[in-house]
Symmetry: D2
Subunit: 320 residues, 4 copies
């Protein structure tokens, strides 16, 4: 067991497919880390898996507080997962049950908020007055940092810009609406576009199809970004289209929130300039009042896939 | 000259066509009020007009502070009008020049922010944690109140949701973009739709054309709302369409900001349920996560056309 | 009175604003011609005006047959104007009344059919097996020539492609629908776009506004094409946009009709390559099966504004 | 071997998945019929399969002429398959090779033309002056009958309305374009919509998913129409949406061709009123000039899946 002058915080990032847990020091350094698949279909199993990784790390480090970042809507006192699109939680009092099991204070946050916080505290958004963090995963998540705090809205649900409508009557979304932004600029959007090309123009999509043994439905967002990074022209075009939609959507949000920086994170953002360059170009044509106002830079996230757990840990520590 | 235990504040609301100035007590009551046309084409004339009404009212009341609400982008220290769409100001240091002339502290705010503040302090948004105020005038303005303060963004330009894009490749906007929300749900949108009907289907638009001696280009937003209020079926349909776009746009903004109330003000909102009912219906079908989250009510503003000056006065007072 | 070996035909082209009448020889040559304004508001006045110009020309030439080209829907036995958008005719038995008055056989045709026929017989579509003639006037008219005959449809109304929908929920059309092709690629479309720019971005439209003393509603299609021909950049951009829509629509019609030539006529087409070049470019990207099929050339009409009367005369002669 | 006073014709309908061949009498009666899967990947195999079924039937009946209906673009002298989307033919001189093998005259036609012809001669379009036949299979095919003849266009490619663009920037099509009609109203459209719902809202799509063991990519057009016929509400909604697009597209084509009847055939049309009723409703709102013109009825095809072979046989007989 390590010993430090100030207590360590434990961050746990729970996504639809993996749990990433880490012990985080006050300066954002990850002292120790564990990753496991998420047993998401069952509420008890998910909670047990969290407790398992937490106890494992807590047995090796002096942890004073635990922060959870979860893909879902968290109520405003940061105790309950109201709804999670990828997990079985519905009104789950996660904070209470985990506090009892782990015997330290626990705080629950939205994973996109945790990511935004990590970038604000230790990453690309340091020193910002109003920062937006757009997370491109399967969908699009969002976190807003204003005056050194997460802007949570009245009920804890702010930042769900993945579901603003960008095309009237457009593509169906899992939320029940049509035309949501995340259907045009997320990992799911890449997969959808790639399957579409593969089904309608197999010749054009031959590079992508080769990766999945000719089965269009097996194409995923990560496969498209990997193919784009390897210079597959169709994958690059698909990523470029997503980048265009990304930049337009950021311009719309900036009209509302007027940030001084926009950080783009999440797995899809790891292709870097392939998606950020078209996003910047579209943003430059779409921001209202351009030329008469300061324009926030659009930058890639710095903390990569660990941002969620680092942010969750630091948010928990700062709540003590 | 009146005398009160606490100082009175003077509020001045400067729009493209009129100046409304009033002496406002601490409880939001308007003690005295003057309205004049705006001499907008010339910077010096506009400033002189403001000074004129202010001195007039200050000669009759003991005013301790002056607040200006101006249609334009104000910098974040509330001293300078960076840009105004309807007035000649470009980088105008309004606070400094008026402070010198009036010999009391002066604060400058965006008029939509002033309106939102008035509704929060004395009107429909009292007690709200996160309130949005959507102002339907010629365009669409916006103010955000969060945790008892105006959310201004990093550079003072937050709330410009009139320019989020709601239709790709849609109607041209004065901001240089296409498809901006205010082209579908503002007074200008009503005028545009009415002229369109009048030019393409004069028979359908005969009620509207009768008001303007058969000249489609003479149709304005206020004429359409008046005709709708008088049960002209074509005008009612046009207002209904605008209401639908209004509700959809509010749903988009709520996905981002998660407010507990949305106040709709401005001249167009004075038709009340004719536009608010379709807005609520569209909002009810468009809010992401509906059924799993608290839904903010959409309500009409309470302070009417005096909201701007009341809010400007109160903001100034609260800055002392 | 002239004397020829074969009888001359008289053609009368009746538009919303003018009557053009001419005596036409068998080779399409115009022997004599008269143009007058149309007294369109009254059925009797319009008929009297036609009779006037016809008698005038028939007093000087030996005319054996009269052909009328009218802007309207003509029934399939070419006797009655079912409906005219610009004239007062509703079920007008024009053939019978004119035959009685003029004492020679009279045939009535749609003006776009007459124009197409003229181009097929004496102009750009000679020798074609299937020719389309797209007429860009205030709206968009159309004529189809197949195997040496006008394709009229079952009821005489074929070729009304100006009213196929090209944008769901798009611009209102006088026909009562939204998104009709003619709202994007006709003279009216040019006027609408120009007024739109003028109202939203007066600076961008200053060249156009100069022509109409600053009154946006005074802008018309012909003024826009004239400004484009004089290199006004905004007018050129508007014409270019219309050309793009033109080419896309032609590609849609070619998917259905598979012509070997497309002739573009009407007043708007007189700007020539300014609208035809973007139309060809868009067509080249939009024709289904391009690369696997013969592509019809898109060419300008050759007979100019006389095509209607020439075609009407020749159709009448060929009906003897 | 049968014996009749007039020679029998053999019709062969070659689709992407099946060959249907039949011996057809002069009154359209099918005397004998064979169906086999299509070995489509190889040109020689496909031809051999056709020859096989033909010889089989010709050994039992006195056949004087053979008509082939093929899913592909046929040149205008009805000898060569220029291109087939589902078969390997590219410039295949089918007529010549089959005439040699079968020793009777052979004619090749597009399968949608053959279907239209059958409906005109023996089915729902008898007596029509201008009939349109819209075939809803995997894609949308089309045939036009005018004045007792197939309207083939200048190069034999008329009727490809499945590829007119109905949504700018819409869904990708196998033809390389976006927004083609067949992406919204064909069997492929049903499958696409069903997969979309299944992937985004599994609960809504549970009835459909039950049929395919929970695998969205296994959903096909026929499965959707079967589920709709069995009252699955989601399938019914999807078919209803397709019907709406169907009616709108028919209205667009009617603006161009002015038919007196529209026959809707193909596998998707077998759901009958589930798709025809919304199509009629949409058509009734979309036909330009409605109220001022005769409106063609939209009716289901009468000959079902045998229409293609019956039409091919009769077209061949009428060419003798």
């Amino acid at each position: 067991m390590t010993s430090t002058s100030e207590p360590l915080a434990l961050g746990v990032d729970i996504g639809g497919s993996k749990i990433a847990a880490g012990v985080v020091a006050a300066d954002g350094t990850i002292v120790d880390e564990i990753r496991r698949p998420t047993p998401g279909a069952d509420v008890t199993q998910t909670a047990d898996a969290i407790i398992g990784v937490a106890r494992d790390l807590m047995s090796r480090h002096s942890v004073g507080v635990v922060g959870i970042g979860a893909a879902g809507w968290i109520n405003s006192d940061r105790s309950t997962v109201v709804f999670s699109p990828h997990l079985a939680w519905r009104g789950e009092p996660l904070r209470e049950s985990l506090t009892t099991s782990l015997d330290v204070p626990v705080y629950v946050d939205n994973d996109a908020n945790a990511t935004a916080w990590a970038e604000y505290r230790f990453g690309a958004a340091q020193g910002s007055r109003v920062a937006l963090c757009v997370t491109l995963g399967t969908g699009i998540g969002g976190g807003i940092i204003a005056d050194g705090q997460i802007f949570r809205g009245a009920f804890g649900l702010a930042g769900e810009w993945g579901h603003m409508r960008v095309v009237p009557g457009g593509r169906r979304c899992a939320c029940g609406n049509r035309g949501c932004w995340e259907q045009y600029a997320s990992g799911r959007a890449l997969a959808r576009d790639a399957r579409d090309v593969a089904e309608t123009s197999p010749v054009t999509a031959q590079g992508l199809l080769a990766v999945v043994d000719g089965v269009p439905s097996a194409l995923t967002g990560p496969l498209v970004t990997q193919a784009a990074a390897a210079n597959d022209p169709t994958a690059m075009e698909i990523v470029n289209d997503a980048g265009h939609w990304l930049g337009q959507g950021i311009a719309d949000i900036c009209a509302i929130l007027d940030p001084d920086i926009v950080v783009v994170g999440g797995g899809v953002a790891e292709v870097g300039s392939l998606i950020l360059d078209p996003a910047r170009a579209a943003f430059g044509h779409a921001l209202t009042g351009r030329g008469f106002r300061p324009e926030p830079p659009i930058v890639g996230a710095r903390l990569g896939s660990a941002a969620g757990l680092v942010g969750a840990a630091d948010l928990a520590r700062s709540s003590l």
